[in-house]
Each structure stands twice: as structure tokens, then as C-alpha cells.
């Protein structure tokens, strides 16, 4: 089936004409690409330019031919962040194994190979763990980062003491405090939080707490009610049990089926029945999703159900 072409359907040729993209789009793209170019200085003597060009060429040649350890580009945004023992004054590189540290008044941006960038907020400490074509990996020891990634999924990873954030094509913020606990907030796309076989899938507009020793909690939408969020936190990290789940079910809206779906595999059978009943009240079971198989936590069934629910998330 993989290589088969689906049928074309009832739309006849010409009824969906190809529309020419306006020329202004390319102009806008060029403007975005040219934004960071520095202006050419006038009045410089030609021999100064020639000497500078020759020197630059020699340096580039030397840099090109010598073997380089894997590293990413780093630029200073505010203050004076440090890479290893070096203060960063403008831009530099962070090699695999090195730490980048910011104090209360400094920030930095790390280029994730050629697939995106990470902004490192004040009072943060991150380490470059891998810089390979199929694995780009940072460790966030403490503090906060904001990541924007444009790449196929599962190329960029951030390890924290309480989970690993796996990029699925997205933008997000990640915070970790001194105790190793943290908060992930996704602004575009999806992120998977993984830890010891447990996985939380977090879409845009949603967040997920993490706690060292417990791993990722249950994802929730940031606009869920305060009672919902408090009860969920109690269930995830304070053994809130049935009382917490009662509040979660009662406060849930259609889009909070994100949370309820994740909870299905984190509770016993009796609670699972109550969760499923509440989910069906909010959104009927789609065709092809069996109630019994869902209660049995059949992976295919839960996957299909999630794909349908995700249209409302």
C-alpha cells in the first residue's frame, strides 16, 4: 500500500486551478534573508581591502583544512556568558562536552547545527552532548531555554534531570530548577517528553511539568482552569489519587482530552473506565476505536484515538 496512489476523488480537472503565488512572497523571503547583512563601509582604501581579503582567505583556508571537533555556533545576546572558561564577547563556538553558562544579566543563542536555535536565558547552565547529523543533543542542568527547530522529528534532544525533550518539529521553552524539576511549554508543533519508558506528547499551547525521580507529568493546556491544573499536579506528584482525578474529570473541556488521554495509561482499570466515560461525553468515540480495546490499553487503538482527538487539541 505504501507506494500505491490513492484515488483522485470527485473533483474534476480544472476545478481546483493552480494559483500563481504572488511575486511579493519572494520579495518578502529575500528581505528576511537579507535582514542581518551588515552595510558595506565606504571610503576604505583598496589596498587595505586587498590586504584584509588576503589575510581572511589564508585564515579561512587554515580553518577549512585543519580537523575540527564537532561544535555549534554561539552568540552573545546580553551580558557576558561563558563557554567553558572563556568569556563570550560576541560570538564563538561551543564544542561537544563544553558548558555554556549565563549569569543574572547575560543571555546567549546557540545554533543547533543547521536545524534551528536555542536561546539560553539568565542563570542557566547547558552542555553540548552531541553534534552529529542525526543527533543534536543538549543537557539543561538548570535555568531556561527557548528552542525553535525546523527539521524532521527526533533530531534534537534536550536532557534534563527529570526527562528528555524530543523535538518533533517545534518551538518550545524548557525550565529546570536547582532541584531538577522543570516545566516544558510548547509554542509550535509537538515535543515528546521521555523518561524510563514513560512518554508525554505535548502539542502547541500545552505544558508539562517534570520532577526529578518521577519524570514527566501529564500534559495540559495552559488555558485549562486553575482547579484542573492544581488537581492534575496533585495527582502527578503528590499522590492525589481519586479525589484529584474527580476534579480533573469535572473541569475537563473538549481540548482537555489531551490530559485525559494520557491519564488512561497511568491509572487502574476502575479510574480508566471513569476517564473513558468522561472522554466519550466530551467527544464520541471515533469509528474504528473500540471501547474495550481502549480500556485494555491496546497501543494501536490508543494511537488511532489520539490522532482523531488531536484535531481538537
Amino acid at each position: 500500500m505504501r507506494d500505491d496512489k490513492p484515488p483522485l476523488g470527485p473533483i474534476e480537472s480544472g476545478q481546483l486551478p493552480l494559483v500563481k503565488a504572488p511575486d511579493s512572497i519572494w520579495s518578502s523571503i529575500l528581505a528576511s534573508l537579507d535582514e542581518d547583512r551588515a552595510p558595506v563601509r565606504r571610503g576604505t582604501h583598496w589596498w587595505v581591502l586587498a590586504a584584509a581579503f588576503s589575510l581572511a582567505s589564508a585564515v579561512v583556508l587554515w580553518l577549512t583544512i585543519r580537523p575540527k571537533p564537532p561544535s555549534w555556533e554561539v552568540s552573545r545576546l546580553d551580558g557576558a556568558p561563558s563557554v567553558g572558561s572563556r568569556r563570550l564577547t560576541d560570538s564563538g563556538r561551543i564544542a561537544v562536552g563544553e558548558w555554556l553558562q549565563t549569569d543574572a544579566s547575560s543571555r546567549a543563542r546557540i545554533g543547533i547545527g543547521e536545524i534551528g536555535s536555542v536561546e539560553v536565558e539568565p542563570n542557566s547552565r547547558v552542555r553540548l552532548l552531541a553534534a552529529k547529523p542525526n543527533e543534536h543533543r543538549l543537557a539543561l542542568d538548570r535555568g531556561e531555554i527557548s528552542a525553535v527547530v525546523t527539521a524532521p522529528p527526533r533530531l534534537f534532544f534536550v536532557d534534563t534531570p527529570a526527562s528528555t525533550a524530543v523535538d518533533l518539529g517545534c518551538a518550545y521553552k524548557m525550565k529546570t530548577d536547582e532541584s531538577g524539576s522543570g516545566l516544558l511549554s510548547v509554542t509550535a508543533g509537538w515535543v515528546a517528553l521521555e523518561w524510563k519508558g514513560r512518554e508525554s506528547l505535548v502539542p502547541a499551547g500545552a505544558s508539562c511539568r517534570t520532577r526529578q525521580g518521577d519524570g514527566p507529568g501529564t500534559p495540559y493546556f495552559a488555558d485549562a482552569s486553575e482547579a484542573f491544573r492544581d488537581a492534575l499536579a496533585a495527582f502527578d506528584f503528590q499522590k492525589g489519587g481519586s479525589d484529584s482525578l474527580r476534579v480533573v474529570r469535572g473541569e475537563a473541556r473538549v481540548r482537555d482530552t489531551l490530559t485525559l488521554w494520557h491519564l488512561l495509561s497511568r491509572v487502574g482499570r476502575d479510574e480508566r473506565v471513569r476517564l473513558l466515560d468522561r472522554m466519550v461525553e466530551l467527544m464520541p468515540l471515533p469509528q474504528g476505536v473500540s471501547r474495550e480495546k481502549a480500556l485494555d490499553l491496546d497501543a494501536d487503538t490508543l494511537g488511532r484515538w489520539r490522532q482523531e482527538l488531536a484535531w481538537k487539541w
Binding site: L16, P17, I25, L33, E114, T150, A151
Partner: protein, 199 residues
């Protein structure tokens, strides 16, 4: 330093050469422009019909897709996976923009869609252009999860596997959504043809 090369993308088989990818990765703007020229109209058209004729939304989405493409193109080495990856970006960008409310859902503008239908077809009969506009309105009335697979199938010759990757779902789900989308469209179109025949 720009390389003076005349890049061409062979659209008939949707294969993007490793040379074009490498050119884009090296910052060769001519290579990127060739890639843009090859896919811009499809990307724009899919976005335009997804956003129900909203040209500004479609332009925004198209610009974002190609800027993201240039940022991430270093990960690809050419081959058939390129268009799948491109359309995945189109799908994600359209859905993210719609979800973020950057372009709020608005009633389908039949007049806009009729103008699209009659573009470049000055000789077409008015009735046929009107029907075409209503076809597009019928498509626009589909929920996004059915609209996107129909658009991807119509505008490019993707297989089940390629559509599954672009839509980030299983092939079974692709088949199901296309079937339901086509069925809903057929019902709406049957009514329209009945109306047209009765004129």
C-alpha cells in the same frame, strides 16, 4: 561568493537533485530560487484553499514554509523524501497558523473563490466557472482533517506512504480520511450538479 549556475528542478518526477540541496545548503541563492520556483504555486494553492481563499494567510504560510525549508535543508540529501518533507511543513504551518488564530476562521468567500476559478480562463463559460467556484467552496467547508489530504492528493501525485509522512499519521488513517473527504465532497457536488442541470 555566489556560484553562477543555472539550476533547474525536474517537476515531472518531483525529484530534487542532491546538487540543488547542496547548493541551498551552501547558501546558493540561485539554487534556493530554483527550488522556490518549482514548488511555490503548489504550496501557495494548497494554503489558499486551506484558508478558504484568504490570500494574505496563504502568502504568510508560503513565506514561512520556504524560510523553514532553507533553515532545515541541510538535513536532506535529495531524493523522493524532499517533497514529502516539504508538504509536511505545509501541513504543520497551515495547522499551526489556523490554531494560533493568526488567521481566524471566516465564512467562505464564494466571490473570492469564483474569481480564483475564473483566473486565466476568460473563454470559459460563466456557468462552468460558477460551478468551479462552488466546488472550491464545498472543499473549503470540509473540516481541516479531510480538507488537507484532499488538497495534497489533488495538487501532487503523492502515494499513501508519502501522504502519511506529510500528515504525520498512518496510511490507514490517510485512506480513511480521503475516503470520507471524497464522499462528503461527492454528496455536496451531486447537489450542485443537480442545481446546475436544472437551470
Amino acid at each position: 561568493m555566489r556560484r553562477l549556475m543555472n539550476w533547474q528542478v525536474n517537476q515531472s518526477d518531483r525529484q530534487v537533485s542532491a546538487g540543488i540541496i547542496e547548493g541551498c545548503r551552501q547558501g546558493d541563492r540561485a539554487a534556493f530560487h530554483a527550488l522556490y520556483q518549482a514548488y511555490k504555486d503548489k504550496v501557495y494553492s494548497i494554503s489558499l484553499y486551506f484558508f478558504q481563499g484568504d490570500a494574505a494567510a496563504a502568502s504568510d504560510a508560503t513565506q514561512q514554509v520556504f524560510l523553514k525549508l532553507l533553515t532545515g535543508i541541510g538535513q536532506f540529501r535529495g531524493g523522493s523524501e524532499f517533497s514529502t518533507w516539504l508538504y509536511r511543513m505545509v501541513v504543520n504551518t497551515c495547522l499551526d497558523n489556523a490554531k494560533a488564530g493568526r488567521r481566524r476562521a471566516r465564512p467562505t468567500d464564494d466571490a473570492v473563490l469564483q474569481r480564483i476559478a475564473s483566473q486565466g480562463s476568460a473563454e470559459e463559460e460563466l456557468a462552468r466557472a460558477e460551478i468551479a467556484g462552488k466546488v472550491q467552496a464545498a472543499l473549503s467547508s470540509l473540516p481541516p482533517k479531510f480538507r488537507l489530504p484532499v488538497l495534497l492528493r489533488y495538487f501532487d501525485d503523492l502515494s499513501y506512504g508519502e501522504m502519511a509522512e506529510a500528515l504525520n499519521c498512518s496510511m490507514g488513517t490517510v485512506a480513511s480520511r480521503l475516503h470520507q473527504g471524497h464522499k462528503m465532497l461527492a454528496e455536496k457536488l451531486a447537489k450542485l450538479r443537480g442545481v446546475a442541470a436544472g437551470r
